[in-house]
Subunit: 453 residues, 2 copies
Amino acid sequence: MAKTTVREAMPKVTFCDVREAFLGGEDTSRAMLERCLARIDERDQDVRAFVYVNTDGARAAADEATKRYRDRRPRSAIDGMPIGLKDIFETADMPTTFGSPIFEGWCGGRDSAVAFALRKAGAVLVGKVVTTEFAATFPGPTRNPHDLARTPGGSSSGSAAAVADGMLPVAIGSQVVGSITRPASFCGVIGFKPTYGSLNRGGICDAYSQNALGTLSNNLADAYAVCHEIAVRVGGDPGSLPFQGGVRPAPAQKPQALALLETAGWKSADADAKRQFAALAELLASLGVTVIDRRSSQRVERLEQAIAEAMPITRAINCFESHWPLVELAHRRADGLSEIARERVAQARKMTVDEYQTLLALREDMSRALETLAADVDGFITLAATGPAPVGLQSTGDPGFNAPASALRVPALSLPLFEVGGLPVGLQLLGFPHRERALSGVAAFLLELQSGR
Amino acid sequence: MAKTTVREAMPKVTFCDVREAFLGGEDTSRAMLERCLARIDERDQDVRAFVYVNTDGARAAADEATKRYRDRRPRSAIDGMPIGLKDIFETADMPTTFGSPIFEGWCGGRDSAVAFALRKAGAVLVGKVVTTEFAATFPGPTRNPHDLARTPGGSSSGSAAAVADGMLPVAIGSQVVGSITRPASFCGVIGFKPTYGSLNRGGICDAYSQNALGTLSNNLADAYAVCHEIAVRVGGDPGSLPFQGGVRPAPAQKPQALALLETAGWKSADADAKRQFAALAELLASLGVTVIDRRSSQRVERLEQAIAEAMPITRAINCFESHWPLVELAHRRADGLSEIARERVAQARKMTVDEYQTLLALREDMSRALETLAADVDGFITLAATGPAPVGLQSTGDPGFNAPASALRVPALSLPLFEVGGLPVGLQLLGFPHRERALSGVAAFLLELQSGR
């Protein structure tokens, strides 16, 4: 059987670094959109990243952006950027299915906060990309562009695949457990999940207390520009500090110290990925970066212990928080839910307020353990997945390595630094709440380091 | 001109204390509902508390509850309770207008978390009661049952009026600034706003970071039972501790110490109301309750200073948080918004993330000032409004005395203890976050004290 890898053929589409050409007139937003549409047309029958492509609407928006650049009056750093929205974000001019057959063709008639902000910033909403059912477990049809027999990861499956395949420079995703950094790792793109609450979640399908919005992109600049332009227009969740990482990432900055995390399930992770990760840690140490881990630091050991149960705690918290809207929906339309969603509903019905309070307290313990290291390290590194994307589309893979960053509600990045058997594996970089600016300097340093090897 | 007061004629409908009769078979849920419907039929053309009465649906639900009591298998402490929902809560079987002509006849097809929980607990959803436009400033048509020429207060206008007029034992309300405790004061009922986040806000029209759900009722028992039965079924907001005040309030408990707050605008408050408030404080002191105030306590003075700007800070925070959904709605349907809503949109557009962060910090200062008193007092007392309900329906009155409890996000009660010119004025009792159980003991004590005078 012939290997279906298409990696070599994939263009890496980026925006902020080509935007100069829009200002200079050598390129236009409309021309860039047409390149994206051509790639979608060519490839999406195989990749199946898109639920809906809004060709006419996108062309009209791109033409307006083209005119603004011609008049030298772009609205923002992302004016004219072709962008995809995970299909949990309501859009006034496109259906929103939430990955569920119950909502096939449904349109609430309004823009979610993110869609509204992106439009106001001049971005071109190309379409809606595949999500798992209600951004949870049951997979959509999307395939991994690197190998169509493999999962792209989830729940932001279409977001990661569309960017990895060169259909878009950026797509919006969301993560409750591992839904940005895992698909980013599997697809070889940058996944960026800023601090929980720092991007307004109005108009999505749920309000899980770990659900953070973010981006999939091919470079840091596009990720930061998008988050910035959203935050200045609609803020974060009401009552939360909006994203403040800056309109562009910080220049590369060698960290003084990093903590190495192994997280639960480390032993069973791919051996080659772990070797490459260890080599990177050694390289960092050789460059004068202090690298601490559970063996050298009691506080890292304490943190490792606190996050060891991140996955079951996360699952149980999500389960309780399914009392609404998932249980309400099940009450009306159980026939339209996947079996795994119905199981969650059944579990939710058994949970008590008392159990939930215990879970919230356990989650707080994790944050306190993290905070003890705030003065000592610039961030944390670990793998972004247990290995390369597994074969098969029935599961979007193991989110175990991603759950700690979600439960800690800290900013996290998946950086495409490793490769196992010709498939990408990401380095995961975690920071402290609202310190996205500092984190970007470290991320830029790591990306430069790897590209220079 | 004849005075239109109807106070003497108004029945006080309660539930938990008559529920025994349901169990004994002397009364039924259906019979109670019919009494409510008869009162609505008789009075609501004048009071205009209801937007929608779901007669058939309510009768069916009441019949089912009646049968459950007959079988001696009630579902909860509020099984069979006739209840009204402020018209910002989505309901699967009734339209939800959010008090806006834009949404006239609109139905999203789902139950909000509160509606879902109430139904699961067996409560009888009688109908939707009037809210101001999007639970903000522009008033609805409701009149004060005590004097039809006066406002009932807002934004939970219909909730307060329906309960005050004897149409319902309980109606659900919500408060961002003064929308539960002010109408409760104006209408002479108990307004109960538990800790922010402790009742699930899923499926309402906004997510303002001070928006807390609560009840309007004629006794404490009904208020607590409703909050409890909601919390055990759908919890609080995701990530927040659910309401834990108990299925019934604590027995009356004389507080050891209370702090007296004057809040901004105290000087211009009604003289008679202040006299009665001062008399109550003296009575408490004479009974051995330590009553401290800004003159006797530096920390109370510090708190008074911190909350002096609660109103402008609250307004500005709400304004920034209008970036979504209000500004998005204005983008599509500005013609359907009131002038005052359009002004808020215009102000929101001028605000920056930087200003918002400053406002959040100022709000945090208030909470810190409150927390310094946590070991010393059992609660805080002040007036629930500047005086009795003003004449006219063009404004729902001054929420200045209510804003501190909203900005502090603490539990607050308005207790109908005072009377000025034949019209009710409430005592406002504030507690500490999540200490609703202790607060109910103090509230019960104050209610008994006043009824014994």
